[in-house]
């Protein structure tokens, strides 16, 4: 159905971003917060009304809005429009809804920061970009949104731009995401050469006629993008570093919404994946391994936000796993609940850090239960939700995914999923115990309690984390299923479902074991707790605590490889070897660039030789052809 | 083969004649200068000094040949040869009279007669600068170098005006061939049709051959005789020869282009008419030398670029319009 409302979901945040960027120096922090929140709130209202409108339509119908013709020439044409179907509106509910809550939280959290105007401009810009990504009715629009959220992420991670670590983290995020974008663009290139279009409505119906090889290629290339954006193996290293940004940024982008864009892409392009078993399997395995990896690494982290970052990675792995077995509804449902409880956890962590004047090392915390009762209770709900304790939200969504995995016959993947569930309970309880239980071990003196603007969103999120799972109790309610599945059935895909059964009990049992182990070790008087507190403040040791050194491998190993290559190519590179390896892929690009630079040594005769050699090679080629 | 033989004979003859004429022209010049200055000129060697050229030649040949220590030896030796060779070669394309019949053969009184005679002449004379520049540079002396640079600049500058004025003649005659040009003047000489062109042409050739008032390159009082300062003996003599041969060439060319060549009333044979006109030009050269002071160098360049060249171009345009209209 043609509508004119959808565009406002994009326009409201955009107007906010532009207005705030222009007025950031003139407006008071209060006004800035108000504007920033109200635009997102307005967008949320439009989303809500659109959802209601969509529900009134028949199955398979969607809201569409044609905006303009973008490119038109011989052999190609691109109408740019918006598509408000179940998948995108589902996503937008979270983006604008949770986004709205986090905006409110940020209005207080950032109020004293001199850059608050810039912050909200960028924050609004992010919502705009994410909405664009989700609402576009073609892959190019999606890509534009994709790149724009990348830019927003870059800006916000590096928000405190005088901190070198923040700048480095921002750069790393940008570059790793650039790899992902390369994958997507290549995928789109292949797609265009096969289907002559990038519009969803034109590509998907043609999928059945395309060759599986092409589809696999497209699927794998898109997966590269998803892997980078959703911090899956092996392109995850930016996500833990991204926690250098302000906490609301971590909560909104690097937990609740932006990082799930990869899952969105999988869900959006599901006809392609369903037609290519190989690509689908790849998605499932990437997801499962990432879930396992993230969970294992999270057990040894001491920075509160890094624990949550790895946990996010792990949970995103679940979603990818779900998508990889075709259980899109469950995957999207998990995205839904995860947004609530992970945002909750991050905001809670932010309250704790706020209280402790920026301390983020959990070994220096402890005993906060009494000092911050509000944070304590809400965080507890978050922990229970993510750990999968019934009847909290995570229990239902996670079990639905695992159930679907088993139904599809992937026993091994299921076992991994179960193990991850146990580990999740373990590290979350460990975190909770170290932060809130026991005696106050920190020497920060009296902190300051958060205000209402921070507490209200956190409270709301806690409530949502607690109850949102109830909308999809197997056999009782099935809101996500009813809402989403027509969109998937449109192209003939039937989402597998599993009811309650023995597998759920297994999962619960494993999770309980994990939680128990954590309580035992890190509860008041636990051995692990004591050992941890002794090392407080020291940099983490060991392979797990350092993310299996994968980041280092990237920086030193691949960087080193290129140093070797450059040495072979040019001979002026010794200083660079001695200087050592600089920084990640940025350094890599730089180093290769320096190597190429040797060609431009400023010697005219060398230039002439280069040109002449080019001429000679040209001549030989043209003589031989 | 026969053609080759004829050309060879003509070449030898030409060289001999030119060198003889050169020698005696020098004598005459000195005599005339003497009379202009109310003195006698050379009169000791032979009757009226007529054997003076021979004495000079002997002197020049037996004089010590000095090569400066720092000089670039090869170039130093090459320069006067180039000068003389070019000067002699330039005359190759100049006809002195209409073709004559000898032994039943029509023989042209020029060594070569290409269609583009004037162009060949200009091409050859344009090489004359090399001798001067190379000689000045190779001597590794500042007087030589300055003289050579001045000379080069001067010759290049005036070559432009010269070329432009010649184009006027070419337009009038409709041919680049010197015989055709002379033939075109049977009724009226181009000096009357194109007087401005002639004036430019004449001034230019005076400058081209580095004669007073444009003898800046040699300027004894300023540059100790310029590019040839370090040269002695036969090498110096070659430069001198080249200069005087060039004067002959230019006078002949002026005759051919503007004074109707060998055209003249029938009571004298064509070649005599031609020689008379050439001698007239040579006399003017001497006359100028006796009467005019030297120009300042910057004035000379100004004259070349700011007066001669624009006037030459204007003259060219006028001539072209004239030809098109009438």
């Amino acid at each position: 159905m043609e509508t004119t409302a959808l565009v406002w979901i994009i326009l409201f945040p955009l107007l906010g971003a532009v207005g705030l960027a222009l007025g950031r120096n003139r407006l008071s922090p209060r006004a800035i917060g108000l504007i920033g929140c109200s635009t997102v709130g307005a967008a949320f209202l439009v989303v809500l009304s659109s959802v209601i409108q969509l529900r009134s339509l028949g199955p398979g119908e969607a809201l569409v809005q044609t905006l303009f013709t973008w490119a038109k020439g011989q052999g190609f044409g691109l109408e740019f429009g918006l598509l408000g179907d179940a998948i995108s509106l589902w996503w937008l509910l979270v983006v604008t809804g949770v986004g709205f809550l986090i905006h409110i939280y940020a209005a207080e959290y950032m109020a004293s920061d001199p850059g608050v105007g810039r912050f909200f401009a960028e924050f609004n810009y992010f919502v705009f970009a994410m909405s664009l990504l989700v609402l576009a009715d073609n892959f190019v629009g999606l890509l534009i949104g994709w790149a724009s959220v990348g830019l927003a992420s870059y800006l916000l991670i590096g928000f405190w731009n005088t901190k070198p670590e923040a700048a480095a983290a921002a750069k790393k995020a940008f570059l790793l995401n650039a790899i992902g974008e390369v994958g997507i663009i290549l995928g789109l290139a292949v797609m265009f050469s096969e289907f002559r279009s990038w519009s969803y409505a034109e590509v998907f119906p043609q999928v059945s006629q395309a060759s599986p090889g092409i589809l696999t290629a497209i699927g794998l290339l898109l997966l590269v993008g998803a892997v980078a954006k959703s911090a899956q193996l092996p392109l995850f290293t930016w996500l833990p570093d991204a926690m250098q940004g302000p906490t609301p940024v971590s909560a909104l982008m690097h937990a609740a919404t932006m990082v799930t864009a990869g899952v969105y892409l999988m869900a959006r392009a599901f006809p392609i994946y369903q037609a290519s078993p190989a690509a689908l399997t790849a998605v499932a395995w990437v997801g499962a391994l990432t879930a396992l990896f993230g969970a294992i690494v999270a057990t040894r982290q001491f920075d509160i936000k890094r624990v949550l970052a790895y946990s996010t990675m792990s949970q995103l792995g679940y979603m990818m796993l779900g998508a990889g077995v075709g259980a899109y509804t469950q995957s999207l449902f998990h995205f839904f609940t995860h947004a609530f409880f992970k945002a909750l956890l991050f905001l809670g962590a932010g309250m704790v850090a706020h209280y402790l004047h920026g301390e983020q090392d959990i070994r220096k915390m402890g005993g906060l239960a009494k000092k911050q009762p509000f944070a304590y209770w809400t965080f507890l709900i978050g922990v229970l939700a993510i750990a999968g304790a019934p009847p909290f939200a995570g229990f239902f969504s996670k079990d639905e995914i695992l159930g679907a995995v088993l139904v599809q016959g992937h026993v091994f993947l299921w076992l991994i999923g179960v193990a991850v569930a146990g580990l999740t309970a373990y590290y979350m309880v460990r975190l909770f115990a170290l932060v809130f239980a026991g005696d106050p071990s920190h020497e920060h003196g009296e902190g300051h309690e958060s205000g209402a603007a921070m507490k209200v969103p956190v409270g709301l999120l806690a409530v949502l984390s607690a109850v949102s799972g109830l909308i999809a109790v197997p056999g009782v309610t099935s809101v996500p299923g009813n809402f989403l599945e027509p969109a998937f059935e449109l192209y003939g895909h039937h989402v597998p479902h599993a009811g309650f059964g023995w597998p759920v009990a297994v999962v619960l049992l494993v999770a309980a074991l994990g939680a128990y182990a954590a309580v035992k070790a890190f509860g008041p008087g636990g051995a692990g707790r004591a050992a941890a507190i002794v090392t407080a403040g020291a940099p983490p040791k060991g392979a797990l605590a350092n993310g299996l050194y994968i980041d280092d491998i990237y920086q030193k190993g691949i960087g080193g490889l290129f140093v070797g290559l450059s040495l072979a190519v040019g001979n002026g590179l010794d200083p660079y070897v001695i200087d050592g390896v600089v920084n990640g892929i940025g350094g890599l690009v730089k180093r290769v660039g320096q190597g190429v630079r040797q060609v431009h040594g400023g010697y005219l005769r060398r230039y002439a030789l280069t040109v002449f050699a080019g001429v000679a090679i040209f001549l030989i080629y043209f003589i031989l052809v | 083969m026969e053609t080759f033989l004829i050309v060879a004979i003509k070449s030898v003859l030409l060289v001999v004649i030119l060198l003889t004429v050169f020698a005696h022209f020098m004598l005459i010049e000195r005599k005339f200068l003497g009379y202009f200055q109310l003195r006698l000129g050379p009169n000791r060697v032979g009757p009226w000094g007529l054997a003076q050229p021979i004495a000079d030649a002997v002197k020049v040949i037996i004089k010590e040949d000095i090569i400066p220590h720092d000089a670039d030896r090869i170039t130093y030796k090459l320069a006067p040869v180039v000068s003389l060779f070019v000067a002699l070669a330039a005359y190759a394309s100049i006809p002195v009279a209409p073709p004559v019949e000898i032994f039943g053969r029509t023989i042209e009184l020029s060594i070569v007669n290409p269609n583009a005679g004037i162009l060949l002449l200009l091409a050859t004379t344009s090489l004359g600068v090399y001798g001067i520049t190379l000689g000045g540079w190779a001597s590794q002396s500042k007087y030589s170098l300055l003289g050579a640079l001045r000379s080069t600049a001067q010759m290049i500058s005036y070559e432009l005006a010269l070329g432009m004025s010649v184009v006027g003649v070419i337009i009038l005659a409709g041919s680049l061939n010197l015989y055709d040009i002379v033939a075109a003047q049977e009724n009226i000489w181009f000096i009357f049709l194109n007087p401005i062109g002639f004036i430019i042409f004449f001034i230019s050739i005076v400058a081209e051959v580095n004669r007073v008032p444009f003898d800046l390159p040699e300027a004894e009082t300023e540059l100790v005789s310029g590019y040839s300062t370090e040269y002695t003996g036969i090498r110096f003599g070659m430069f001198m020869m080249a200069e005087y041969v060039n004067m002959l060439t230019m006078s002949s060319l002026a005759t051919l282009l503007y004074l109707g060549g060998w055209n003249g009333p029938g009571f004298l044979p064509p070649i005599v008419w031609f020689l008379l006109k050439v001698v007239l030009f040579l006399f003017v050269f001497v006359w100028l030398r006796a009467s005019l002071p030297r120009l300042r160098y910057d004035r000379l360049m100004d004259l070349g670029w700011k007066v001669m060249l624009p006037v030459a171009i204007a003259n060219l345009v006028l001539t072209a319009v004239f030809v098109v209209l009438f």
């Binding site: 105007g117 870059y154 405190w160 700048a167 663009i185 280069t610 040209f618 001549l619 043209f622 003589i623 | -």
Partner: protein
């Protein structure tokens, strides 16, 4: 006289060229006749007026007879509407919409260049203006060349003028060095290209582009191939395609920014136009392998350009390398030699015109104390000194990086479209792949400039710190927005109106092409007789 009638002397068709030449002479004469201290505005006025008039004639030729009083003044009835193209002067010059489009691009670039140069204080600026006009003339000639003679002369007119323009700041060692390198290497390329013409002529006996194709019918076509190869690389040199780009970074850095801007846009546009014409004339029907080297050059340019740009600290040099990469992208337009590609190429050139001129305008405007603001450090904290300029620069950088909503993004999009639609299969995918990868790499280079502008310089940071000592949330060190205090660091006066105009034009152009590309695309449709 009667012979002349055998050649089509259509002077109206070359009115833009005549106008440029006349304007150049007028500028030079004005310098002679006006008193020195008062003539300065007039030089510029004459130069700008000439270019504007030439642009007007281009538009007139495009749209056909105009109506109204203005038309009767310039005798519009004599003007034919150039839809299918006419060749004049015995086929030496082709005036079709393709020529007119590229002339337009070149003239706009020249206009902006002269405007940018008004800030200069040398006394012999008339020479400078005349050089720009001359180079523009050469570029327009090149764009419409119908035979080798015109092509060669166009190329040389533009090159010679630019050699001098590069060396114009004659007391600047860098300028002299740049000019020497440009001249020697340019002459080398010219010699090779002339040789290529000789071979093509040897095989076909004609110099006219339209007659060349017959050479392929001979038994042995080695001369054709080698000739084509040499001509291609001569143009590749002017386009600065790797590895024939070696001169570009040094020359771009050494020349003054306005000239660099003109060179990078104008030369490339003209050489690209010539390349299209040569390929159109010479493309053998069924031998795509002859063009393989071109794709290799394109990929090499993308890689070398973007990698080298990433490590530059001199913005002019960075833009030079970026130009190398962009020419690599531009080559994608030629994959299929069809309407779509040519249209995408022209669009890309137009986009490049605005974003590149804009970027150089910012470099010019940051100049002080006789040197240009070309070092990355000159951009530090620009946002807090001149927010408008910084935002404009951000737009240009994003556009060069190919990000929406700027023109560069649309340009790349159409190039990808045309490459994928060319039917060139593997080559297309390789080129698209290289485009994507190198776009990612070069984005790093451009964003470095952007982040530098948004980072405070130390002086600014101190001021900001003094004003804000309160603890930041989460205790993080921070020096975010300084409210009003940071702005006081700005020490420069307002931009001159000329620079403002150029930056504004560039911003508008970049945004317009990015947001509403349709109008430009419509202009570029079917400008050449192509499949």
């Amino acid at each position: 006289m009667s012979n002349l009638t055998t050649v089509d002397l259509n002077f109206f068709a070359v009115a833009p060229l005549i106008t440029l030449a006349a304007a150049g002479l007028v500028v030079l004469v004005l310098e002679l006749v006006l008193p020195a201290e008062r003539s300065r505005p007039w030089w510029y006025a004459a130069g700008l007026g000439g270019i504007a008039l030439a642009l007007y004639y281009v538009a007139l030729l495009w749209s056909g007879p105009a109506a109204g009083p203005a038309a009767s003044i310039i005798g519009a009835g004599l003007w034919g509407r150039v839809t299918n193209g006419i060749s004049v002067f015995g086929g030496a010059y082709v005036v079709d919409r393709f020529t007119l489009l590229f002339s337009g691009i070149v003239l706009i670039a020249a206009f902006c260049t002269v405007l940018l140069s008004t800030a200069r204080r040398d006394e012999d600026m008339p020479g400078y203006v005349a050089l720009v006009l001359g180079a523009a003339l050469g570029m327009c000639v090149l764009a419409g060349a119908g035979n080798f003679l015109t092509l060669f002369l166009g190329l040389e007119i533009l090159s010679l003028n630019l050699y001098v323009a590069v060396a114009f700041e004659r007391h600047n060692a860098a300028a002299k060095e740049a000019a020497l390198k440009y001249l020697i290497l340019g002459a080398l390329a010219t010699a090779a290209m002339v040789y290529g013409f000789a071979f093509l002529y040897g095989q076909t006996g004609t110099m006219s582009l339209s007659g060349l194709a017959r050479g392929w019918e001979a038994d042995s076509t080695v001369l054709m191939k080698v000739g084509l190869g040499l001509v291609l690389l001569g143009l590749a040199f002017k386009l600065a395609l790797a590895p024939f780009h070696v001169w570009a970074p040094d020359v771009y850095q050494g020349a003054t920014a306005p000239i660099t801007a003109f060179m990078s846009v104008g030369t490339k546009a003209a050489a690209f136009a010539a390349l299209v014409r040569v390929l159109l004339a010479l493309m053998p029907e069924e031998s795509p392998e002859l063009l393989l080297p071109l794709w290799v050059l394109a990929v090499a340019s993308m890689v070398v350009g973007s990698l080298s740009a990433a490590v530059q600290t001199n913005v002019k040099r960075l833009l030079a390398y970026s130009g190398v990469a962009h020419v690599g992208y531009l080559m994608m337009a030629l994959l299929g030699m069809n309407h779509q590609g040519v249209s995408a190429g022209i669009f890309y050139m137009a986009a490049y015109l605005f974003m590149n001129i804009g970027a150089f305008a910012v470099v010019v405007s940051l100049g002080k104390n006789g040197r240009e603001g070309e070092e990355l450090s000159d951009f530090t904290g620009l946002f807090y000194r001149r927010p408008g300029l910084a935002l404009a620069m951000t737009l240009f950088m994003l556009s060069l990086a190919g990000m929406p909503p700027a023109a560069g993004f649309q340009g790349k999009l159409y190039l990808v479209f045309s490459a994928l639609g060319s039917g060139a299969g593997g080559a297309a995918l390789w080129l698209v792949g290289a485009l994507v990868v190198t776009t990612g790499i070069s984005a790093y280079a451009y964003l470095r400039v952007v982040t530098t502008m948004f980072r405070r310089s130390e002086a600014q940071a101190e001021l900001a710190d003094a004003g804000h000592v309160e603890a930041a949330p989460a205790g993080l060190v921070n020096a975010g927005e300084g409210g009003g205090t940071g702005a006081s660091v700005a020490g420069e006066g307002p931009l001159s109106w000329a620079l403002t105009v150029v930056v504004a034009v560039a911003v508008i152009g970049t945004l317009y092409l990015g947001v509403a590309p349709q109008s430009m695309l419509a202009l570029t449709r079917h400008v050449l007789p192509l499949p």
